[in-house]
């Protein structure tokens, strides 16, 4: 079967990986995972740290070999060199040789992709533009910020216009602005290369939610769930948290329960969209300043990981630690 007839871009069948730890001890990082990523979709690989996300991506690239099971990338096993001709990869903590400039890095990786010289220089300009590094093209990597390195690594992954993009925690270690930029960048890549499959890992729910069509849930090396994100969001409860400050000392509310008081202000838990609107109206007439409105994610997380693991960690952003 040629790669074009193969309906899935990445497929894993009963894949396990055990790392040796010293002579006797072993660590089972991935256990019996099977899934297939259909062509042209944006799929998120979601799980807390240490759940085996990076291991799955590295196995798909042939960096490490699964202890058991089979992996196919566009119909080729990752041990074959040509399987990597379909793939662009952004590692978890990309680092480059410091003495090269952004442009030289892209030229180097481009020739490794066997791109023609004339085509390559056009592509390099295009990509530097796309990731917003045109101004820094001649600068040495040594002076780059983490976000710039991340975007350069992203450009590196796109060089050969690959059919599959594997991003390992593309947003990790960036400040909120950097995360936002990168999220937009992934969105733009999806628009410009609609036929490309984007498969990326994350431990941040909100990132996955905003970008992906489907999510794969991993926990402790096992596949917990593989579903479409709209299926998940469909059943979402309408629960909100509203925080406001500057309220008059004497006031009473009818639309929710106050759950905490902090330097930021007072926070209420509110059920239902109508109640939320009423609350906001009320707060306005009382002359209060609304500091934040959050949609409560607990129900979604409960769906994803089951009741037991939700307590593990939760922050307003929905970060699973």
């Amino acid at each position: 079967m040629t790669s074009n007839e193969f309906p899935f871009d990445i497929s894993l069948t009963d894949v396990s990986k055990t790392y040796p730890l010293g002579l006797w001890k072993k660590k089972e990082a991935v256990r019996g995972v099977s899934f297939a990523v259909p062509r042209g979709e944006v799929v998120g690989l979601l799980g807390p740290n240490g759940s085996g996300k990076s291991t799955i991506l590295k196995m798909s690239l042939g960096f490490i070999r699964p202890t058991a099971g089979e992996i196919l990338v566009c119909g080729h096993p990752p041990s074959e060199r040509q399987s990597r001709a379909f793939v662009g990869y952004l590692p978890e903590n990309p680092r480059f040789q410091k003495f090269l400039s952004a442009k030289e890095v892209l030229f180097y990786y481009g020739t490794l992709c066997r791109l023609e010289k004339s085509e390559l220089s056009k592509r390099v300009d295009e990509l530097l533009d796309l990731v917003g590094l045109s101004d820094a093209r001649a600068e040495r990597i040594a002076g780059f910020s983490k976000g710039m390195v991340q975007r350069l690594a992203m450009a590196q992954a796109l060089l050969s216009r690959p059919r599959i993009l594997l991003f390992d925690e593309p947003m990790s270690g960036l400040d909120p602005l950097g995360r936002l930029e990168l999220r937009r960048l992934i969105g733009r890549i999806h628009e410009e290369m609609p036929e490309a499959t984007i498969f990326f890992s994350s431990h941040v729910l909100s990132d996955v939610e905003q970008l992906c069509a489907s999510v794969i849930l991993l926990s402790k090396g096992e596949l917990k769930n593989f579903c479409r994100i709209d299926e998940l969001l469909g059943g979402r409860s309408e629960a909100y948290e509203v925080t406001a400050r500057g309220l008059p000392a004497e006031h009473s509310t009818t639309w929710g329960k106050r759950i905490r008081r902090s330097p930021l202000g007072e926070t209420w838990s509110i059920e239902g969209t109508d109640e939320l609107l009423a609350a906001l109206n009320d707060l306005k007439t009382m002359g209060a300043q609304v500091v934040g409105v959050f949609s409560q994610r607990a129900s979604l997380e409960q769906k994803l990981f089951g009741k037991t693991s939700v307590q593990e960690a939760r922050t307003p952003e929905g970060v699973l630690l």
Binding site: F63, N93, L100, Y109
Partner: protein, 254 residues
């Protein structure tokens, strides 16, 4: 050729590492040494200086082979840039061989300059040393470098940085003592079969050593040189080959 691209980047990395300070040090030392010896008679002076310069070329290049070879390779693994390189449709062998070629090319350039310095200093004496024998001696050291660098890469693939360096250094030492070991084996009573096996795995590096005879102005004939080249290429190819095989089967979990 993909390997040549990797080689080119490796060369730039080495230049960025300021390897040419090595040359500067060498030139300064060489000049200082020959001035220091000024009070000796000409013939003695020429011989001692040549001895010293050739030994300096060898020691610096052996250390370069071992520490730079292992360092460059390990650094790329630890840095993680190897992940992006190997995510391209290239084989791990091209990567390894590319690094090797890049390093050896820089070493060639450095040794060529060292040779020029040595020849310049030599020409200031009127001893009975010959230009050809100095060229031959440095050429043989380069052949030794080819083997040692390949050995360093092999151990770098299979062991930690420090371990690899120590093992390669040991093999370098044993490689130069091989002849006396063989001699002792031949005259000893208890001849275990293990020794010939071990000895056949250790390259005979004494083949590449003509420092002493070069300082007397003797030269090797072309047949001897030819076999030295063949021997060096075979050993280097062997170690590189097994390094590639081992590297291809390793988990890269950076």
């Amino acid at each position: 050729m993909i390997a040549l691209r990797v080689a080119w980047i490796t060369m730039r990395e080495l230049i960025f590492e300021r390897v040419f300070y090595l040359l500067l040090t060498f030139a300064v030392l060489a000049l200082g040494f020959s001035l220091l010896l000024g009070q000796l008679t000409y013939a003695e002076q020429a011989k001692i200086t040549l001895d010293f310069l050739l030994a300096a070329v060898e020691v610096s290049m052996v250390l370069f082979s071992i520490f730079m070879g292992i360092g460059l390779f390990k650094r790329e693994l630890l840095l993680g840039s190897v992940a992006m390189v190997l995510s391209k449709p290239i084989s791990r062998s091209s990567f390894l061989i590319g690094k090797y070629i890049g390093q050896v090319a820089i070493q060639f350039a450095v040794m060529f300059c060292m040779l020029l310095v040595t020849l310049a200093i030599q020409s200031s004496f009127h001893g009975d040393s010959s230009v050809l024998s100095v060229i031959q001696a440095v050429g043989l050291i380069f052949l030794e470098v080819l083997v040692l660098t390949a050995m360093a890469y092999f151990f770098a693939v299979n062991a930690g940085t420090i371990t690899a360096a120590i093992v390669t250094l040991c093999l370098f030492a044993v490689g130069h003592m091989r002849e006396s070991l063989v001699y002792h084996y031949n005259i000893s009573i208890s001849r275990s079969w293990i020794w010939p096996v071990i000895m056949s795995l250790i390259p005979d590096l004494e083949i590449f050593n003509m420092k002493t005879i070069a300082s007397y102005g003797y030269t090797l004939d072309w047949i001897q040189l030819f076999w030295a080249v063949v021997y060096s290429f075979c050993c280097a190819a062997f170690f590189l080959f097994i390094a590639c095989v081992c590297f291809a089967n390793k988990d890269i979990a950076t």
